[in-house]
Amino acid sequence: MSTAIEIRDLRKSFGHTQALDGLDLTVETGEVHGFLGPNGAGKTTTLRLLLGLLRADAGEMRLLGGDPWRDAVALHRRLAYVPGEVSLWPNLTGGEVIDLLGRLRGGLDPKRRRRYLEMFELDPRTKGRAYSKGNRQKVAVVAALASDVELLLLDEPTSGLDPLMEQIFRECVREERERGRTILLSSHILSEAEALCDRVSIIRAGRLVDSGSLDELRHLSRTTITARLSGAVDGLAHLPGVHDFTADGDHVRLTVDNTELASVLGLLSRGGVRSLTSNPPTLEELFLRHYRTDADRTAVPA
């Protein structure tokens, strides 16, 4: 499998603000890659650097085998971009914008154009100024999908869509993945990334903090266990890998590092388990774990 996007030690600052502080990111060809992080983490800056809109201060970037800054024009024929904040020309209709962007990219498929307009129930005759935020976003999404390109760079593409349209958007992403397209999906909607992405990269303050498939990330994380026991179990709280232990009568609740799961289950079964639920970490928990600041961590007694 070849690499669609390869970023090493990327740095970019705006004045005194360090937007990217040594970012690494790898996106394999043919995968849907979730690019996760809270507002201001550097997601949009990374996409703009990949598009050659911004110039990197330092670091290496390869995009579809080329240099994003030097080969921008040639590379852009092979990709499409949906910006996070879609701003349309007030007196151009949605249809005109879709055609214009398609032509600038080197042509668009009229059949796909028609199909996506229908799927997203978008009226192409409306003037740009009259669209709602969600509909502006649909214009950008249709323009990107209608071009039939190798790589899609999507910056929080569903932030203005209603749940119904979000569902349709997810279908489209899955379809594109079936067709072997590579998709980099920046998002802070974790359920979306969980539903769509093969792999995710989590960034914080301009640096990569975690990357891998969801299974891999979960493996390195903790499972939450809630159990009702018939007898007392000693030493559970002090077992290696056990955190956040609370006991309320016969009710026990804890989180455990997945590597230590077996020993915890062994000890629990000795105490006589009456009921047990075990929840693998949601992406949300992974996410929060990375974003809990050091101050928060020290404030919570172990």
Partner: protein, 529 residues
């Protein structure tokens, strides 16, 4: 909740945003009035000098058309003769942009909605815009008048002058409050108000030079003149702009009452579902976005050309004093006078055309700020091609505009002299001779766009400085090298003068170098919102 709840907060917000802009303009206008008064005192120290100056100024219709007459042979009236109408128009322009900036522009950007959801009343935005515009008009007028008084002119006349200026600011702030309700885009709202301003200025120009005199009362700029500072100080005239402003505000509120937030009164129609053949590349887009605006400018130039050509034919005939007639004959006859009139007007047209060229680059910067350049450059579009569309507009549209001015002025003037063909050729050449200086300003705007995108509006400061140098530089007895800083100083005074190719060539070369530098810099910089 009252419809005005939150107005105070919005006023504070507007003043916070304009905390540099408005004081700087106030300082500029105050400095111009004070230095102009000081310079005039030095040039015409005695009453006899002043009488002579008034006679000679009032006998040149070109000057009277451009600035208005001198109403009395006093030092004050002579000092402010160039400032009264012209400065009132500049202040009106400033207030139009200020009013639109705090009303329609806020709505268009979606910020009004953000505030509207907080505790602000329906008309709070409009009210805040109007208050800020009115107060700044009054403050600016007061300080400008104080500048004149400080230079030693009578206090009463200085106050009358300042209030006259404030009146123009008030009225056009009101006009902009109305146009801001009519259109959805801030650009169109300002454009509509500027058209009204141009019409007002031309009404008074016609009234002052060709007559009838009463026509001046139909123009808000005319009211500023009719206050006649230092020439009788007709205070009651100041009531007229106040009443008209009040009426305009009533209209604005009535319009605001019947429309929704973010909507204009002119409804949106559905457009084409597919892009036409012309909307192909970046150039096609630039043309599409600017063609309506350019058409409006072109219509204005055609109109102005016809008026100027018509007036030029009258210039010689309107001299009523025998002394002036003898003087003119000695200077080379009415032909020379008519040429001087056209040359003065054409050099002003050069400055205005440079303003058009600057707007083209400022527009591109606006597109960039509105995040509309980003999706274009994310396609297979070279940055040079994107910029080329706007550079073409900045360089070629002035050719079209000035040619149109020359053709129409030539026709109108030639019909009177009986040789339209020859006059068209001659005046087209004279108008086009302004182009190299226009291209320098276009180049400056392009270079700013490339190097310091956020500072592209500095081109306006440069243009204003060049305009003031041209208008007041000689009067202020500035050194030649200071005057030479303005490219317009080097434009030939056509028709009627000899032309040297050298300045035209190096002005053009300077424009080309600046454009090239801007293109190179734009390729290397970040695209920033």
């Amino acid at each position: 909740m009252s419809t005005l709840t939150g107005t105070g907060a919005l006023i504070r917000l507007a003043l916070r945003r304009d905390r540099i802009r408005l004081p700087v303009w106030t300082a500029v206008f105050t400095a111009v009035t004070a230095s102009s008064a000081a310079a005039t005192t030095a040039v015409y120290p005695t009453t006899g000098d002043q009488q002579a100056a008034v006679d000679s100024i009032n006998s040149v219709p070109a000057l009277v058309a451009l600035y208005g007459p001198v109403y009395a042979p006093t030092l004050g009236a002579t000092s402010v003769f160039k400032l009264t109408a012209f400065g009132a128009a500049l202040i009106a322009l400033l207030m139009i942009f200020t009013a639109v900036r705090h009303t329609r522009a806020e709505e268009e950007a979606g910020r009004r909605e953000l505030l509207g959801s907080a505790v602000t009343g329906r008309f709070a935005g409009l009210a805040a815009g109007v208050v800020v515009t009115s107060v700044s008009s009054l403050v600016l007028g007061f300080f400008s008048g104080a500048g004149l008084a400080a230079a030693g002119l009578p206090v009463a006349g200085s106050l009358a002058f300042g209030l006259g200026w404030a009146g123009a600011g008030l009225v056009f702030g009101g006009v902009a409050a109305v146009t801001a309700q009519l259109t959805k885009s801030a650009r169109a709202a300002s454009g509509l108000a500027v058209v009204a301003l141009l019409a007002a200025y031309f009404l008074r120009a016609v009234a002052d030079s060709a007559g009838p005199r009463w026509l001046s009362w139909a123009s808000p700029i005319g009211w500023t003149q009719q206050v006649r500072p230092y020439a009788g100080d007709v205070w009651w005239v100041l009531v007229v702009p106040l009443l008209v402003t009040a009426a305009l505000l009533v209209v604005a509120v009535a319009l605001a009452r019947v429309r929704d937030i973010d909507a204009g009164l002119l409804p949106d129609r559905a457009g084409p579902a597919h892009a036409g053949r012309s909307l192909r590349g970046a150039g096609g887009l630039a043309w599409r976005l600017n063609r309506a605006n350019l058409a409006a400018w072109l219509a204005g130039y055609v109109l102005i050309g016809l008026v100027l050509g018509g007036l030029a034919g009258n210039v010689g005939k309107m001299l009523d004093s025998d002394g002036a007639r003898a003087l003119i004959t000695a200077l080379g006859g009415t032909q020379a006078l008519e040429n001087a009139f056209l040359a003065a007007e054409f050099s002003m047209a050069g400055v205005i055309t440079a303003a058009y060229a600057i707007t083209a680059l400022v527009h591109l910067r606006g597109e960039e700020r509105a995040l509309r350049v980003e999706p274009l450059l994310a396609t297979a579009l070279d940055r040079r091609r994107l910029l080329a569309g706007y550079l073409l507009l900045a360089a070629v549209a002035p050719v079209v505009l000035l040619a149109a001015l020359g053709v129409t002025a030539g026709l109108a003037y030639g019909i009177r002299t009986g040789s339209p063909g020859a006059e068209v050729t001659r005046l087209v050449g004279a108008a086009l001779a302004q182009l190299p200086a226009v291209w320098v300003l276009a180049g400056l705007a392009a270079a700013l766009f490339g190097f310091l995108a956020r500072a592209v509006a500095f081109a306006w400061v440069a243009l204003t400085a060049f305009l003031l140098l041209g208008e007041f530089g000689t009067l202020l007895k500035l050194d030649a090298w200071v005057l030479d800083l303005s490219p317009f100083t080097h434009s030939p005074k056509l028709p009627g003068a000899s032309v040297q190719a050298a300045p035209l060539l190096w002005l053009t070369a300077l424009g080309v170098v600046l454009v090239a530098a801007g293109v190179v810099a734009f390729r290397r910089r970040d695209v920033v919102g």
